[in-house]
């Protein structure tokens, strides 16, 4: 049993932290938000230059073949900076999917370009009625001759608008909640019949809704075996869930630090408000919450590649619940302790709060994962 990071991991963490400190000040971030896209290709290339986009790509495809712990460290650091670039979608979930799905050609085509940062590949899986379950796919793909025709609706696809290429899940057989019968297809964002509407989310990240109307793709666009994509999708989102937990923890640590500094400097009734015992205990509880969330983010990173699916999903749901509850408490109390200033767009604390709120609503909220946990504990 060992709870230490390797020297390489420490180095990685320091690198990302330095990058965030140097290139992701609150002001720099504000400028990026002024831009139309709301994120920066430039900074994406810099992340690539640091090898971060190669992290989850295996070595034979020009990647680093690193593990979930490395991803945890990166996401933790990116969280502190509220980084806007599509790292989770394009450098975690997409490569994880391609690693897991058995498709040498797709892997050889896409992984090197993902590793180098040339191509941004986005997985479009979630649909309007989804609250976190991964087996709900209504979008259909009908085989006709040597091509497939896709019809359906993908909703709130993280960073969908950033995609150079989309990997879209669609049902080739079965009922809308079956695990079998789900297939993946490579689709160009510009494909005819594909309507992509990109928008910002409450936390100023990017998402998109994608309408598919008779979108025709060649049979070669199929990724992996027809109807057998579920396990790979699950594996990809399991890593994604562990990664977003790490991001939330990075944010909580930063929020707590900001709140501590603010309450030490803000004076009321002739003393810093940090002198009031009620606020001291509140901050102690915020610290406790962040520590428990940290522990669960470690558990998630360790378990998210566990071959025992039940054990894996159970640990991940537990982590999402713990992180969701901690993030909610820490975020809300940070605003409360900042008082009116916490309500303003001027201070970073409200941006931390909004991202923590969005994270709880992503990949299934607390109630959803409590029920998943109960189901897995049977």
């Amino acid at each position: 049993m060992d709870f230490n990071f390797t020297d390489e991991q420490q180095l990685l963490a320091d690198t990302v932290r330095r990058f965030v400190r140097e290139h992701y000040s609150f002001e720099a971030r504000r400028e990026i938000l002024q831009s139309k896209d709301g994120w920066s290709r430039d900074l994406w290339q810099q992340l690539a230059a640091l090898g971060l986009t190669a992290l989850n790509v295996p070595e034979e495809h020009g990647g680093l073949g690193a593990g979930p712990i490395d991803t945890l460290l990166v996401m933790h650091a990116l969280g502190e900076g509220l980084v806007l670039e599509p790292y989770l979608s394009a450098a975690v979930i997409a490569p994880a999917l391609l690693n897991r799905i058995d498709d040498a050609k797709a892997a050889a085509d896409l992984l090197p370009a993902i590793a180098s940062g040339e191509r941004i590949v986005i997985v479009a899986h979630q649909e309007p009625k989804t609250r976190g379950e991964l087996n709900h796919v209504v979008t259909r793909a009908e085989k006709s001759g040597d091509s497939y025709v896709l019809d359906g609706h993908k909703s709130v696809v993280m960073n969908g608008g950033a995609a150079d290429e989309l990997i879209i899940s669609a049902r080739t057989s079965g009922k809308s909640d079956d695990r079998d019968g789900i297939s993946l297809f490579r689709v160009a964002p510009g494909a005819s019949g594909l309507k992509l509407k990109s928008y910002r989310t409450i936390d100023e990240q990017q998402a998109a809704d994608i309408e598919l109307t008779k979108v025709k793709v060649p049979a070669t666009a199929l990724v992996g075996t027809e109807g057998r994509a579920f396990a790979a999708i699950e594996a990809a989102y399991d890593l994604g869930l562990s990664a977003i937990c790490a991001e939330a923890v990075g944010i909580m640590k930063a929020v707590n630090h900001a709140t501590l500094e603010y309450t030490k400097s803000r004076k009321q009734f002739g003393q810093p408000i940090a002198k009031f015992q009620v606020l001291q205990h509140r901050m102690a509880d915020m610290f406790l919450n962040a520590e428990q969330a940290t522990s669960m983010s470690y558990l998630a990173a360790i378990k998210c590649v566990d071959p025992d699916v039940g054990e894996r999903r159970r640990a991940l749901s537990a982590a999402k619940v713990a992180v969701g509850q901690s993030g909610r408490f820490v975020g809300q109390q940070a605003i409360q302790l900042h008082g009116g200033m916490g309500m303003t767009d001027e201070l970073i604390v409200s941006h931390y709060f909004k991202r923590l709120t969005a994270i709880d609503l992503t990949f299934g909220d607390t109630d959803f994962h409590i029920q998943q946990f109960v189901a897995q504990s049977r």
């Binding site: 979630q126 009625k129 928008y199 009321q268």
Partner: protein
């Protein structure tokens, strides 16, 4: 002990309902019931309509153009207005400066300012909070120096709500910097927002709204006759004012309306293929907030009847502030969670200019996350809930 209304009270309720049915503009009610924020012109439009009916100042005595209603009538009016989707009362004129002018202003001042509050011609805003003086109001720094028949006012106010629309601002200013205690040496001035030297700077809140401002005063000339009451006695008037700010603070009527909206949304949303409202955990969460709201309503009715008996409520208002805001925040949070990922798509101004279309997902989802963010303020303003607990432990528990 009887929860039923008397025949007179029932007749009054029908009267109120009829008025709301006939005169409340449908577009305003629609905005409220869709969780959108209300525009200044809508508030004013509604104020003028209430004035036409003779109900421009429900909380005021008849002699000043009010209705002279008793607490039960007021309760009925607030309940019915909220249920019908009428905008809440903007408190700065009717509930803050108005009562101060009635209690401490001279007849000239009363005749000059009060009617224009009732008929909706003047929009008032508040000038008590300052950057350094939040909960600790008495530490305010804005200076007013007497020059002949004027005060020259310099300083900065903040958390000024909707001041961008205001004709007048009431300000707490320091007229005696050398007073031994900081509560002393404060005066209460009414200032024309068109006066040279006043600059209003927007404060944008996290959901992108422009509800509050900084107000900068640079050598603003204010006639001495705009001072309410005595010089250096302003703190007395301020405390009186903050006492009145608390009326209807529980916001029971509005929360009942929001509870219905939550249930409507939970009926339309699904989870595992069933209506969300049938999900055992979510149903229990709705039940919990509904029960808290029932308790809050009973508590506020108790406070109300105590008022009716002229046993003044006093610090009990702190109970209503804490519990009322907890319920409001719980409702806004549950509504957001009810729509899941579709709470995320966000367009700045969607709550202000919103025309019920949404970027993605159902229309009712569009304003929910913004409202959740916006409602974090209710446990902060009007004396944070921590301050309210201080008040309870000092004034009620005697600690």
């Amino acid at each position: 002990m009887d929860l039923n209304f008397t025949p007179e009270e029932l007749a009054f309720r029908d009267e109120v309902r009829a008025f709301l049915r006939e005169r409340l503009p449908a577009d305003i009610a629609q905005r409220i019931k869709s969780g959108l924020s209300i525009r200044a012109e809508d508030y004013t439009r509604w104020q003028k309509l209430q004035f036409e009916r003779g109900w421009g100042a429900p909380t005021w005595p008849k002699q000043f153009g009010g209705t002279g209603w008793n607490p039960v009538q007021l309760h009925i009016f607030d309940e019915e207005s909220a249920a019908a989707g009428a905008p809440r009362t903007i408190p700065f004129g009717l509930k803050m400066v108005g009562p101060v002018i009635m209690a401490f202003g001279n007849q000239t001042q009363q005749q000059r300012w009060l009617p224009r509050i009732v008929n909706g011609e003047d929009w008032w805003c508040q000038g008590y909070s300052e950057p350094g003086a939040g909960s600790d109001l008495a530490s305010l720094k804005t200076r007013a120096e007497r020059q002949g028949e004027h005060y020259i006012v310099n300083g900065q106010k903040t958390w000024n709500t909707l001041g961008q629309y205001a004709d007048w601002i009431f300000c707490l200013v320091r007229t005696d910097p050398n007073a031994p205690k900081q509560q002393q040496g404060i005066s209460f001035l009414l200032i024309d927002m068109k006066s040279p030297g006043i600059t209003v700077r927007p404060i944008i809140t996290m959901e992108g709204a422009h509800e509050v401002n900084e107000v900068w005063l640079e050598n603003v000339k204010v006639p001495v006759e705009n001072r309410i009451g005595e010089e250096n006695k302003g703190w007395t008037y301020a405390k009186f004012l903050l006492g009145h700010e608390r009326t209807n603070i529980a916001g029971v009527g509005a929360s009942k309306r929001e509870l219905q909206r939550l249930k409507d949304i939970a009926r339309q949303e699904t989870k595992n293929g069933r209506p969300l409202i049938e999900d055992p955990l979510f149903a229990a969460r709705i039940a919990q907030v509904e029960i808290d709201l029932m308790a809050l309503e009973m508590t506020s009715l108790r406070v109300l009847s105590a008022e009716a008996q002229k046993r003044t409520p006093g610090p009990e208002a702190s109970i209503l502030k804490i519990k009322g805001t907890e319920v409001q925040q719980a409702l806004s949070e549950l509504m957001m969670y009810a729509v899941g990922p579709y709470a995320l798509p966000f367009e700045r101004g969607s709550r202000e200019e919103g025309d019920l279309r949404s970027i993605a997902g159902p229309a009712y989802a569009a304003p929910l996350a913004a409202t959740y963010c916006n409602y974090r303020k209710v446990s902060i303003y009007g004396g944070s809930n921590e301050i309210q607990r201080n008040i309870i432990s000092q004034m009620i528990l005697g600690l």
